[in-house]
Amino acid sequence: MIKGQIVKIAGPLVVAENMAGVSMYNVVKVSKFGLVGEVIELKQDKVSIQVYEETIGIGRGEPVEDTGVPLSIELGPGLLESIFDGIQRPLDVIKQKTGNYITRGVSVPALNRDKKWAFEPLAKKGDKVSPGDKLGVVQETVLIKHYIMVPNDIEGELIELAVKGNYTITELIAKIKTTEGVQEITMLRKWPVRKMRPYIEKMAPKELLSSGQRVIDTFFPVTKGGTACIPGPFGSGKTVVQQQLAKWADADVVIYIGCGERGNEITDVLLEFPELKDPKSGEPLMKRTVLVANTSNMPVAAREASIYTGVTMAEYYRDMGYNVALMADSTSRWAEALREISGRMEEMPGEEGYPAYLASRIAGFYERAGQVVCLASKEKRIGSISIIGAVSPPGGDLSDPVVQATLRIVKVFWGLEDKLAYRRHFPAINWLRSYSLYLENIEEYLKTVAPEISSLRSKSMRILQEEAELEEIVRLVGVDALSDHDKLTMETAKSIREDFLHQNAFDMQDTYTSLKKQYNMLKLIISFHERSLKCLENKISTKEIFNLPVRDKIAKSKFIPEDQMIAFDYLENEMSQVFEKLFAHHTEKK
């Protein structure tokens, strides 16, 4: 193995000499503490290394040793319900080993080597197998069957397969005869994080990733296999939206990456997810979740890696045919880590000091999302990764290079606004500026679940846009200048905002709304609006309309339980009667 010496230390960047022959992106062990580092530049016999652990106290002349392999993570049963740091060290095991603080130089395997998993074979001796074919299955958690597949570079005849029984991840479970000899297979895989895992082909995503958040699902939906970003200043609700998605999205597996953000937010997820029940299965949400946590006070370079660690795990579950949702909070901290290392290497800075390759790195990350036909020779297996990235621009300014580079690649933009957050309108997603480019993709899909929702959406959007214009007028000349028709528009817009778009994540009832219920709620509001329009045509005053007590019931329809959807029909009925009465009353008067 190649061994050199440290000549320079500047924060997370270390330069070592006498390293000729080392490959780019190889992992090296740095200093007498054996810190994990990654080679990020080669210059004759010198290499620049980003070190994933604290470098204070390491000295010139200390050794640097090549490991010969690129930065890789372990894949296999035991990932779910775990919490890892940015380079996949299990934080629970680290705590057992070193106590409450993270100390450096600890080396522990990511996956438990002693635990036995109940393996069931899904193939038989003599089968011709190719990458991605299922060899067997392990019930990893109550929610997820973990398929043990043929590794990606192996093809041949299955000459041995373990019988049903309990095995650790390092025990032999299969032998495959290939043209290059017999390969021994265990349940444990390794994969270099910076390399995309292969698939057969990408497809256009057509299915909604339902999130239970009204403003998202109805107005700015994301798909299974889609990409979305959520930029906003601090306190505008990025993390809450990400956590809401992690809780309620109808994905099979959730990868939640806390990248350079608060420690307590990770603790919150850790303590809350085991208690929360998945609305579909009734099982604890943690059973489908993997946490990657590199908080803001943990070493900066590992933040950069955490994103890739997370997405590689996502690809691994996608390859089994699952719909995976990945949240990264916040991609800005990852970009800043990139900037910090680049700065220490004295690279030519681009915009705001970010390296010139910022945009291509961001694009490369989001490109790992998508719905794909997975590698497999015996079946057409489809899996997907949706990526939802938070972006934290300085001062909330959207001209920030990270925001701009992200917007060029993602298809959904949820623009958070501090003004809305100050008014405690949550989620503070600006309905006029946000967009989803998936509306057409999911048109067909929506027809099966909530027909007409598209038309309700466009009607509502028009009302909200008109409201914005009318507000300008009110600001100039006062509310009295408005026609009755305009006043109605303003009232309906207010109802859409306050009774539909506003959703309290911390209210037990309000935190999740099924698509069906979203449709019902919005239908009530629009139906009230359209009936009111008729009234106006018949010279019934706005005052009479606005004083109808049924409005209050519409406002509270968010509290109708999911299993009592019939109540919406009653309400619709009541409303129609109320309006009939109003008409009758009016004709009498005439």
Partner: protein
């Protein structure tokens, strides 16, 4: 002994370059002996070949290239801690400045600390009653939270921080608490205000003070919050104390960082602050919280002044991205003579959800707060409209909201510096004020709550 070098080859601003160094470690503590035998302390910022770049805490005045000796300690910067530190005053590097005896350390701690494993944290959720309605009611503080005060020059942040230190308590509990106070680049007058207040209330017996004044060496400020937090961690996690940490003024701290960054000729980020300011601040603010199985806790109240009252300035901006909310002071309220001039709308406590409600404060807390927020926001908008178009342009309902906003500022926000309201009093004032509004507008509170708390 450690090797001594006479090979200082360059001094620039607070930085010193030493060459031909045989053994040097990144981040280690360095002693510089001047020709006149004066000793200064520094820290290695970068090692490159046989050169070491050193930041000098006490500044470079008087250092020359021929007579200065540099000694490398082989250790990182440490502070010796002990229970005897309580009621004592130290400088920004942790040396006593109150003419008291030397501290015999029980142990020495690396001031840089280590990151708390998120797996080891316990979620902060114990309500701290500060007695200030705009905090307790609207932006509730919990034990183990980091909640900064965003202030501006001339605003009464010091008085508010002192009031919190004086009144803060966890309901139904008498526990051991301590205050660790860190001053960075503030005036003597302001530092003295805190010391006098601690003395008056007797808090001084349970306080440790680290003071770096405006007239003290700026670079020393880089070490001060770390010295403060190392002491706080010792008291909280080894001596079971509930520690309140006050750090003021973080803007001065950041300016010291900027000075070093500029001297190193680093690529400057926004407004000249270094690109790693976020990471650096996080290494301070994240040293707050609770740890599973530990009795003590660290609650942080950093204070910063926003240059030109601009919340998007890098110091408040990056702070807000790290801390668990912010208490924002408003010049407009201050000019209206409202104390404490806390602007509740842009203020935020991210941890309040779990600290309030039944069994913690009161079951109606969350809803009535949401209602007050919504009503005050609408009232303020109405008032703004009235400024442009005159009162007559407001609808009847908007007039009521406008009245509500005024009353809310005068009766809810405004209170005396020595008024200590219980949480019940705070919430009841809120309900009383909501009577100004028509029932049909109270969408965020529940019918039963109206019955219980408004109609009683």
């Amino acid at each position: 002994m450690f090797k001594e070098y006479l090979s200082v080859t360059a001094v620039s601003g607070p930085l010193l370059l030493a060459e031909h160094i045989e053994e040097v470690k990144y981040g280690e503590l360095v002693e510089i002996e001047l020709e006149n035998k004066e000793i200064r302390r520094g820290q290695v910022l970068e090692v490159s070949g046989d050169k070491a770049l050193i930041q000098i805490f006490e500044g470079s005045t008087g250092i020359n290239l021929t007579g200065s000796r540099v000694r490398f300690s082989g250790k990182s910067i440490e502070i010796g801690v002990s229970m005897d530190m309580l009621s004592r005053v130290f400088n920004g590097l942790g040396e006593p400045i109150d003419n008291g005896p030397k501290i015999l350390p029980e142990k020495k701690i690396d001031i840089n600390g280590s990151p708390i494993n998120p797996y080891a944290r316990d979620f902060p959720q114990e309500f701290i009653q500060t007695g200030i309605s705009s905090i307790d009611g609207m932006n509730t503080l919990v034990r183990g939270q980091k909640l900064p005060i965003f202030s501006g020059s001339g605003l009464p942040h010091a008085r508010i921080a002192a009031q919190i230190a004086r009144q803060a308590k966890v309901l139904g509990k008498e526990e051991e608490f301590a205050v660790v106070f860190g001053a960075m680049g503030i005036t003597f007058e302001e530092a003295n205000f805190f010391i006098e207040d601690f003395k008056k209330t007797g808090a001084i017996d349970r306080a440790v003070l680290f003071i770096n004044l405006a007239s003290d060496p700026p670079i020393e400020r880089i070490a001060t919050p770390r010295v403060v937090l190392s002491t706080a961690e010792y008291l909280a996690f080894e001596k079971d104390k509930h520690v309140l940490v006050i750090l003021t003024d973080m803007t001065n701290y950041c300016e010291a960082l900027r000075e070093v960054s500029a001297a190193r000729k680093e690529v400057p980020g926004r407004r000249g602050y270094p690109g790693y300011l976020y990471t650096d601040l996080a290494s301070i603010y994240e040293r707050a919280g609770r740890i599973q199985g530990k009795k003590g806790s660290i609650t942080q109240i950093p204070i910063l002044t926003m240059p030109e009252d601009d919340k998007t300035h890098p110091v408040p901006d990056l702070t807000g991205y790290i801390t668990e909310g912010q208490i924002l002071l408003s010049r407009a309220l201050h000019q209206k003579n409202i104390y404490p001039p806390i602007d509740v709308l842009p203020s935020l406590s991210r941890l309040k959800q779990k600290g309030i409600g039944r069994g913690r404060t009161r079951e109606d807390h969350a809803d009535v707060t949401n209602q007050l927020f919504a009503a005050y926001a609408r009232g303020k908008e109405a008032k703004e409209l009235a400024v442009i178009l005159g009162d007559a342009a407001l609808s009847d309902i908007d007039k009521q909201f406008s009245k509500f906003a005024d009353e809310y500022e005068n009766k809810f926000l405004a209170q005396g510096e020595y008024t200590n309201r219980t949480i019940e009093e705070t919430l009841n004032i809120g309900w009383e004020l909501l009577k100004i509004l028509p029932r049909s507008e109270l969408k965020r509170v529940k019918e039963e709550q109206i019955k219980t708390y408004m109609d009683k």
